[in-house]
Symmetry: C2
Amino acid sequence: VARPKARRTLQEFALIRTLQRTFGQGGPSIVQGMGDDAAVVAANPKTWYILTTDLLAQGVHFDLRTASLESVGYKAAMANLSDLAAMGATPRYCLVSLAAPSGRTENDIHQLYRGMMRACRRHRVRLIGGDTSGSKQGLFVNLTLIGTTPRGRALFRRGARIGDSVYVTGTLGDSRAGLSLLQEPKRKAARQRSTRLPFSRRRMLINRHLYPTARIQEGCMLARYRLASAAIDLSDGLSGDLHHLCEQSHVGAEIELAALPLSPACRAFASCLNADPVQLALSGGEDYELLFTVPHRNQPRLEHLARVRGFRMTAIGRITARRTGVMVKRPDGTRRSLPSISYEHFRRVT
Amino acid sequence: VARPKARRTLQEFALIRTLQRTFGQGGPSIVQGMGDDAAVVAANPKTWYILTTDLLAQGVHFDLRTASLESVGYKAAMANLSDLAAMGATPRYCLVSLAAPSGRTENDIHQLYRGMMRACRRHRVRLIGGDTSGSKQGLFVNLTLIGTTPRGRALFRRGARIGDSVYVTGTLGDSRAGLSLLQEPKRKAARQRSTRLPFSRRRMLINRHLYPTARIQEGCMLARYRLASAAIDLSDGLSGDLHHLCEQSHVGAEIELAALPLSPACRAFASCLNADPVQLALSGGEDYELLFTVPHRNQPRLEHLARVRGFRMTAIGRITARRTGVMVKRPDGTRRSLPSISYEHFRRVT
């Protein structure tokens, strides 16, 4: 079973923090170094460059038994585009490096590129550099994406203030439900109860897993109108990524479970499997939706602009003091603390 | 045996060309897309951004039996810095992604970073982004380096004109000699004739292989004073890289074998092994020296500036018409065509 792309183990997070502290550097035109979704460099008096890079390994971040090379390429590009969306950037350029084992044909590599380019074209991103070489075992793809924002208009993880509302775009948990469907045994008899799930719902969930959508337009709107005080994209899952945002903003948060946006397909999936859709929404990663915080005074404008543009944006809670930590409020009004759920934990839940 | 980093097979070159043609794109502010040492983007009216990315795979590009993690990191950074040097860029920022198998300790990762950062510090490059995750097998490192040149001052592979002189920096073949020494059997008795090589020479050659020097200052000088008409860095070896430069410039070249700059250590190595040092210089890759072409009128200025700054730059031939191809002139005055020697071929020669 492949670990969802951006899900890291707790040790990995600790290591990344140590590397940041030890080797991360500031400098004259560096607005943001390591520690956010992307780095920010002041390229000229009017423009910031936003840069992000991601390495995907076969068997760790993707599984070619459940995904085609074309969808792996598509998703790899979208995951990086999502990092730019979380910064409010307009994506511009892309560099790709690839290490492929000798068993891979030229056609395989083309499939992978075709997927990446399909995602990039949707956002008018240009492929400007590439490198292809060998690997002893397994396929490795690295993407570097570069976007721009007007100077001073990028969104960061830091910046959330007590009292701000917490929002998410789209719906949560679909991708994890889609992954579960992909990982089911091939034989119909062995598929347990999920066979009751209508085909259109199945397809929607699987599509959300294989072909996620980076919320580029939503991110640009938030940055352009200075609506959000902080933002992050949901790659690790709501609970994990909310913890990241709160940590960097030095705040706590309270999420209303009843407010979490769930798709009908996700609800149907959960009811077929007798599972809790709220758990999928909280801890299912790779939704690539945006999680962002909005000061009280910006809420009417946000709601108006979202309506006009047809963006789904749902208020799911509010920012609290750091000492209260990250909490969830159940529909019955009781509260519990929300752990930064790791993948291993999640696997036991479903 | 690890294949030298940048040595690609002929199939890989063919694939890269196909990908370029199929997916490479131009655009409003893209000065150079795929197909040179690095991509060039017009970041503002005064500055070009130069971007390069490279993925290194354990067992393919580096071999941890002959190199420490620290030296792997150092060399990975220098190889990317060398791409920027070939464009005449001043390096600025670096993004690193890493996939490490679970057997790697935090200390291992730190060693690798320490090496990268040592190379970066020498050129005041700042680490602004990083990503660390797991790998099923083997260590993978991807570096993205970003440099700048004043607008219009980057060097390209295209641009060499008939009659231009061909130059290289430093000396050639040392890195390949160093790799041979590293690959020797450990037991002294089995080391054949290379035991006669003095320790200081040994160390120099091994150092040139493990800790190459990117010719950043040399590249900046060439770009700043508009001295060179074309440039490339020597990663695949003189014969291969000269072919690349000639192909992109639509010219031929004639190299004087007697003029190739050889270090005393490389000569001593070759004489111990009864080998031809000129072969090492022609086909041993990973020297990370610059190969560049200089119009006749710029030669006096180049020679003067190189002398003043203490840069070793040697004229080794001249650019000819495309139809004559890439030739070498032997000391006895006879000529032969220079094949774009592949790694496999080279291995048979020594």
